[in-house]
């Protein structure tokens, strides 16, 4: 009897060896994986609601202060915005390749792809810094030092001899602050998400280097990938709304 008990005990111990991709409270690896994906998507849905509120505020205020939004939006550089869009799409592309590298258990490739994802994330933030500092130099940051003169007396185009933008009455020009408030809130929250993502990328790259994700345990890479792609998607909407759609205003 004693022998049987010992043998059973050993057997049970063995059956309860838990892999990170199959913890003991899940029946199968697939079940654990799906539960993780499901949870990650629930989190991303709350993020959709969060950014959705900002997008909705943009929609309503653009409707109210249309002329101010057109003038302020045209201050942004389409060139820098386009370059940043390409950086972010490329960063997402390398993140997706990173998930593939983890799935096929290639440790070296996974580390390389995660590093490329991080580098392109930094490149995006670097250009964002250039854009932000221009706004500070021109006093286009909402607040006590905001300068409406460029919107009341737009600079004259050297070739045509006409104003580059339609001059705004001072009360409407003051409303360009609403645009810039939303611009800083939306791109700022997006940048905060990217900074959080880059911190997580450092941690994941470190763990990937030590082989945590190249023996069948892909969930942290995959779920972080979902987050990083979500941040991409937010920018895919920010770019046209903030930079592009006001170039040909309705008169």
């Amino acid at each position: 009897m004693d022998n049987t008990a010992v043998a059973t005990h050993i057997h049970e111990e063995h059956a309860h060896v838990s892999l990170p991709q199959h913890r003991h409270h899940f029946e199968t690896e697939e079940q654990q994986r799906e539960a993780g994906t499901f949870g990650m998507w629930l989190f991303l849905l709350t993020e959709i609601m969060f950014f959705g509120g900002l997008f909705f505020a943009y929609l309503l205020y653009r409707n109210w202060y249309y002329d101010a939004f057109v003038a302020a939006s045209n201050q942004l550089s389409i060139k820098l915005g386009s370059i940043n869009t390409v950086f972010l799409i490329a960063s997402g592309f390398f993140m997706a390749l990173g998930v593939w590298a983890a799935e096929v258990r290639k440790r070296g490739l996974l580390v390389i792809f995660l590093i490329l994802t991080t580098v392109l994330g930094f490149a995006f933030l670097g250009i964002k810094y250039v854009e932000y500092s221009e706004k500070f130099e021109k006093h286009h940051v909402p607040g006590a030092h905001f300068d409406i003169s460029e919107f009341v007396n737009p600079p004259i185009d050297a070739k045509t001899g006409k104003a580059e933008q339609k001059p705004l009455p001072p009360d409407m020009a003051a409303k360009t602050q609403v645009f810039f408030s939303l611009y800083f809130a939306m791109t700022g929250m997006h940048a905060v998400h990217m900074i959080i993502g880059i911190v997580l990328l450092f941690w994941l790259t470190w763990r990937a280097y030590y082989g945590d994700f190249s023996s069948g345990y892909v969930a942290p890479i995959e779920n972080f990938g979902l987050y990083w792609h979500f941040v991409d998607i937010v920018w895919l909407f920010l770019f046209p709304l903030l930079y592009l759609i006001n170039r040909h205003p309705l008169s």
Binding site: I48, S82, A96, L97, V99, H248, L250
Partner: protein, 113 residues
């Protein structure tokens, strides 16, 4: 015994999980290329005066790109029905919230009191 198979609360005997699917680098390259083309089109379209259609086209392209990212980069195309329904329900709820708020906003007598 068949009772045991019929009663399957932990979803093991007859799993509804999607087959584990690995998207290949070639597929990712196609997705990457199409996203770059989409970006190019939206920048070029912004330069052309299309009146009220400018924002519509820009948002249409952005939505297309977002759907491509969600389906392939985020693997939703290869996930179980549960995950697909979750994603769809989230966007549906967001549209409901926007519609209800806009209904309220547009039916007010702004500036007429």
């Amino acid at each position: 015994m068949s009772d045991v198979h019929y009663h399957d609360p932990s979803n093991v005997t007859n799993p509804e999980h999607a087959e584990h699917h690995i998207v290949t680098p070639a597929q990712y390259c196609i997705v990457f290329g199409s996203l770059l083309v989409g970006t190019l089109i939206t920048v070029v379209a912004a330069d052309i005066d299309l009146g009220v259609m400018n924002p519509v086209i820009a948002l249409g392209i952005a939505c297309t790109k977002a759907v491509i990212v969600i389906l392939f980069f985020m693997h939703v195309k290869y996930q179980s029905k549960l995950v697909k329904m979750t994603v769809a329900a989230g966007f549906f709820t967001f549209i409901v919230l926007i519609t209800m708020t806009l209904t309220d906003y547009m039916s007010r007598a702004w500036g007429l009191w």
